[in-house]
Amino acid sequence: MVVPLTWYLVLSGILFSIGAVGVLINRNALVIFMSIELMLNAVNLAFVTFSRQQNSMDGQIFVFFIMTVAAAEAVVGLAIIIALFRNKATVNVDDINIMKW
């Protein structure tokens, strides 16, 4: 018996929602970044599933590029967090509001 591909898509949806909830409820900038990584992983799973469904390789190439972008995003984001921590000595996003009007 083969697993229906819809299950993979539903799992991807659940994973994305957990990531979105994590972005909404967490106050720690690092954990917010991890939740964003969760959402990117969910999208990767959906891409690979569609790629398998269509018997095509393009989805897997897209996953490759998403991973590149995720790596770049994580590096720049963490550099920003380090710079902020050096100035304000906190990673709580409630305290980082100097750009708020």
Partner: protein, 177 residues
Amino acid sequence: MLESLMFIIMSLIIIACAIGVVFQKNPIYSAVFLIQTMVSLAVLYVLLHAQFVAAVQVMVYAGAIMVIFVFVIMLLNLNKDDLEGDRNKLPMQKPAAIILGLMLVVMIGVIMTRTIYQGAQGEYTPEVMDQIGNTQLVGKMLFTKYVLPFEIASILLFAAIVGAIVLAKKQIIKEEK
């Protein structure tokens, strides 16, 4: 049968660990849970006949990106105040976010299960892929059809390296207090 069992076990691990990432107080535990989530996702990629993506998932995500995360968590040395962080400026935020998240699950689930995906079938069935080799096919596509995005990705990585160095290096200009 074995595949279904594998999928069910792995998806349960993934969901449990993802919830762990979100609801842990200590960021280092969140990072460990996230590593477990990514490794379990790699197993699902193998089930989907995407062996190259599975290998890259373990090496790049669970290896490189999570090492940066753990490194930064260790480097920042957060004190107890930052970890607790329960000042609750918005008391209704947590339940509201969870309700919205459940709604999102239902909406995505309805869309994913009700839609019928019909498209032109490609030529790379699992049999063909196993015969040629998944990694070889990915390499062939990266250097023929997707050669321009591949080069742009290298420029993006270069810009990210420069940006990270510029942002994280010691600030020369003192901040006025």
